[in-house]
């Protein structure tokens, strides 16, 4: 039933071009560690789990918004939409620099790539600093989960600001995770572990960064622009 690999390798290749890479006789031993398609596939599935996590949060948001649409409308007006817009621009620019760093490494321009990675990290930090000021201003006005001020304003606004802190908070944690990830990538690029030939780690980190960016693109309108 089973023959050794050497005997049948050649005709198997011709017969089943659509099979897995092993069937094509493509990947063995050392090469398995650099299975580009496999790494990409795993990353996309991971991104999907992240997306599902936020789907649950958006489910919570939409249920409560349909219940308290008036209150959500009113509470949203209190958010600083200029600040939100500014942060959106920052994150979108960081996605650009992220993409540029990958293009640079693909052309073998190591230092350019590191420069763009550094820029991406800087923009991510900038985003967090803005977020910090935004949150502190709100907390200063007594608006935070379970605060007396908020409870007195009624159910709808309590839920709105609860969701605001929860969703932007979890998103913020993802930005921090992305910054840590990119810092590691920068070190790996410096050590030439990420290079012109092997750049899947940087590319996957880029995918993660874009995901964090896209989630913000949805968070921004549902909180800042519904008033």
């Amino acid at each position: 039933m089973f023959m050794t690999r050497q005997v049948i390798k050649c005709d198997e290749n011709k017969d089943h071009p659509s099979e897995s890479p092993l069937a094509k006789g493509g990947i063995t031993g050392e090469e398995e560690k650099h299975d580009y398609q496999g790494a990409k596939m795993g990353m996309w599935m991971f991104l999907f789990t992240e997306l599902l996590l936020f789907t649950g949060l958006f489910l919570l948001y939409s249920t409560f918004r349909s219940k308290y649409s008036q209150e959500f409308h009113a509470a949203s007006a209190e958010l600083n939409s200029a600040m939100g817009t500014f942060n959106t621009v920052i994150l979108l620019s960081s996605s650009l620099t992220m993409a540029l760093s990958i293009s640079a490494i693909k052309e073998g321009k190591k230092h350019l790539s590191i420069m763009f990675q550094r820029l991406t990290i800087f923009l991510g930090l900038f985003f967090l600093v803005n977020k910090y000021f935004e949150w502190s201003a709100k907390i200063h006005h007594g608006i935070y989960p379970n605060s007396p001020e908020l409870l007195q304003r009624g159910k709808g606004e309590t839920i709105f600001f609860g969701l605001y802190y929860l969703l932007t908070g979890i998103h913020g944690l993802h930005v921090i995770a992305g910054i840590i990830l990119l810092t590691v990538m920068m070190v790996l690029t410096k050590k030439d572990r990420i290079n012109r030939e092997v750049f899947i780690k940087l590319e996957n980190s880029g995918l993660y960064w874009h995901l964090v960016d896209i989630i913000w693109v949805y968070l921004f309108p549902v909180f800042y622009l519904i008033s």
Partner: protein, 532 residues
């Protein structure tokens, strides 16, 4: 053990580190098996204590508060530490790469990381039992509002379960990628063993459902720490939201538990009936159908919680739909045995028991899934009996079957068949004596999770407790047999059962690289001629 076995190839580290830092899928599989059976042992003891408390009305050996903690911890350990990782992470890790003719999984280091998440989650849960306000007493479902109000250590326990969720998701991603990318030359999709198909379906459920559990648990932690109010009506929240989010994961999770078990018995039946499986594609697609439809039936846990009639009817209808692919599988297993030349050895005895007990569990599931009867049995012992018949009688018996079946491959030794059959008889009797009276208790109106009961329930409660002793004795004999055989059993040949899937073509235990030469597959997985 042969010289060229993975036991003799420790890799970079030595001693215990050669296990807990190994990226070899076989070593990781054994790490999972040993750790999860240790937790299983703890939960069995808790279960026996719980039954002992219920032997007579009133206080017997523990207080009501302790009883609440005991059934919660029994449930949390059995569900999250034993039966969810159970077959996929333990046996799946060891067997699946062998069955598709791969050298390892797609991401060996992430595989090791999954085990570390698993063991950290387990340790966090264990710590939560003895610190803070004491062991959680909410039941394994952590329902709000009680889980937010109770002073026990729910926050830490829930964080432990969150870590276990990460472990499960990563395993799912790893397995799906492995099955897509690392099949041996010629191993087309429809030449894969059905155990691999079931792990593939399970992998997708793990990927698609677990993030929702992670979110639900995060919300519960946030609620306890900051008091957002999402589940608190006085702050505008809704406790039903928790139940929805919880069951969106936890119902698909029962298919994470049962699908690999179904896959394992599908491997065992053809080998001991010595004929090909009946309806290969039907079994493969029914795994995917169960995974797909199982995602949409969570509402049947909430029929009495307050939902619109329309929603309840849709959820009830979909629940009946899930019974169809499950029924297809049962028919196919029985049809595979028909006219086979059956060898009635312990793995097959456990398998047939699985079919019998799982059928009882599955059919009583329809009684729970029908709206009118659900109102009658909801929250009674009937439910307890039903899920023990599916989870213990189903998954755990299939797990035992698979453990005996692959024992020679994993350890390189044979167990004592006569003792295995004795253990099987005792387990079968003990199981039914323990859980069947619960169906009757449930129909008579005994509510689940109650510490005390009316004297009229005493006869069934007493029989059930006696059953728990028989079952525990059976487990003790089975594990004594398996563990002592690791050291004293006869050496196993590469293919002791005459199996025809790839894992039997390599030596027992397999070498570090799994195969001397990567195999090339030229036909389906179940082809039997004369036994070698």
């Amino acid at each position: 053990m042969t010289i060229n076995s993975f036991y003799n190839t420790p890799g970079r580290h030595t001693g215990i580190l050669s296990w807990i830092l190994s990226t070899d899928h076989k070593r990781i599989g054994i790490l999972y098996l040993t750790s999860m059976f240790s937790f299983f042992f703890v939960a069995v003891i808790l279960g026996v204590l719980m039954r002992l408390e219920l032997i007579a009305p009133g206080r017997t050996i523990m207080s009501a508060t302790t009883y609440n903690a005991v059934f919660t911890v029994h449930g949390v350990i059995m569900i999250f530490l034993f039966i969810i990782p159970g077959i996929p992470a333990g046996l799946g890790n060891f067997i699946m790469p062998l069955q598709i003719g791969a050298r390892d999984v797609a991401f060996p280091r992430i595989n090791l990381m999954s085990w570390w998440f698993y063991i950290s989650g387990a340790l966090v849960i264990l710590v939560s039992l003895f610190t803070g306000g004491g062991a959680p007493d909410t039941g394994w479902t952590f329902y709000v509002p009680y889980s937010i109000m109770t002073g026990t250590n729910v926050t830490l326990a829930v964080f432990g379960v969150f870590l276990l969720g990460i472990s499960s998701t990563l395993t799912g991603i790893n397995f799906v990628t492995t099955i897509h990318r690392l099949r041996a030359p010629g191993m087309k999709w429809f030449r894969m063993p059905l155990f691999v198909w079931s792990l593939y379906a399970t992998g997708w459920v793990q990927i698609l459902a677990t993030p929702v559990l992670a979110l639900t648990l995060l919300l519960l932690i946030a609620e306890r720490l900051f008091g957002f109010g999402f589940f608190d009506p006085s702050k505008g929240g809704d406790p039903l939201m928790f139940e929805h989010l919880f069951w969106i994961y936890s119902h698909p999770a029962v298919y994470i538990m049962i699908l690999p078990a179904m896959g394992a018995v599908t491997e065992i039946i053809p080998v001991f009936a010595r004929r090909t499986i009946f309806g290969y594609k039907a079994i493969a697609f029914s795994s995917l159908a169960i995974a797909g439809a199982g995602y949409l039936v969570w509402g049947h846990h909430m029929f009495t919680s307050g939902m619109s009639d329309m929603a309840r009817m849709v959820f009830s209808f979909l629940t009946f739909i899930v019974a169809i692919p499950s029924g297809i599988k049962v028919f196919n297993w029985v049809a595979s045995l028909y006219k086979g030349s059956i060898e009635l050895v312990s793995p097959l005895l456990f398998t047939i028991t699985f079919i019998f007990l799982f059928s009882i569990g599955g059919l009583t599931g329809l009684i729970n899934g029908a709206l009118a009867t659900n109102v009658f049995v909801h929250g009674t012992y009937f439910i307890v009996a039903h899920f023990h018949y599916t989870m213990f009688g189903g998954t755990a018996f299939a797990f035992f079957a698979a453990l005996h079946f692959w024992f020679p491959k994993i350890t390189g030794r044979m167990y004592r068949e006569s003792l295995a059959i004795k253990a099987w008889i005792i387990l079968f009797i003990g199981f039914n004596v323990l859980y069947f009276p619960m169906f009757i208790l449930g129909l008579e109106g005994m509510p689940r999770r109650y510490y005390d009961y009316l004297p009229r329930f005493q006869p069934e409660q007493f029989i059930s407790t006696v059953g728990s002793w028989i079952l525990a004795a059976g487990l003790a004999i089975m594990f004594y047999n398996l563990i002592s055989s690791i050291f004293r059993g006869e050496k196993a040949p590469g293919n002791p059962w005459g199996g025809s899937t790839l894992e039997w073509t390599t030596s027992s235990p397999p070498p570090h690289e799994n195969f001397e030469d990567l195999p090339v597959v030229t036909g389906g997985p179940y082809r039997f001629g004369k036994k070698e």
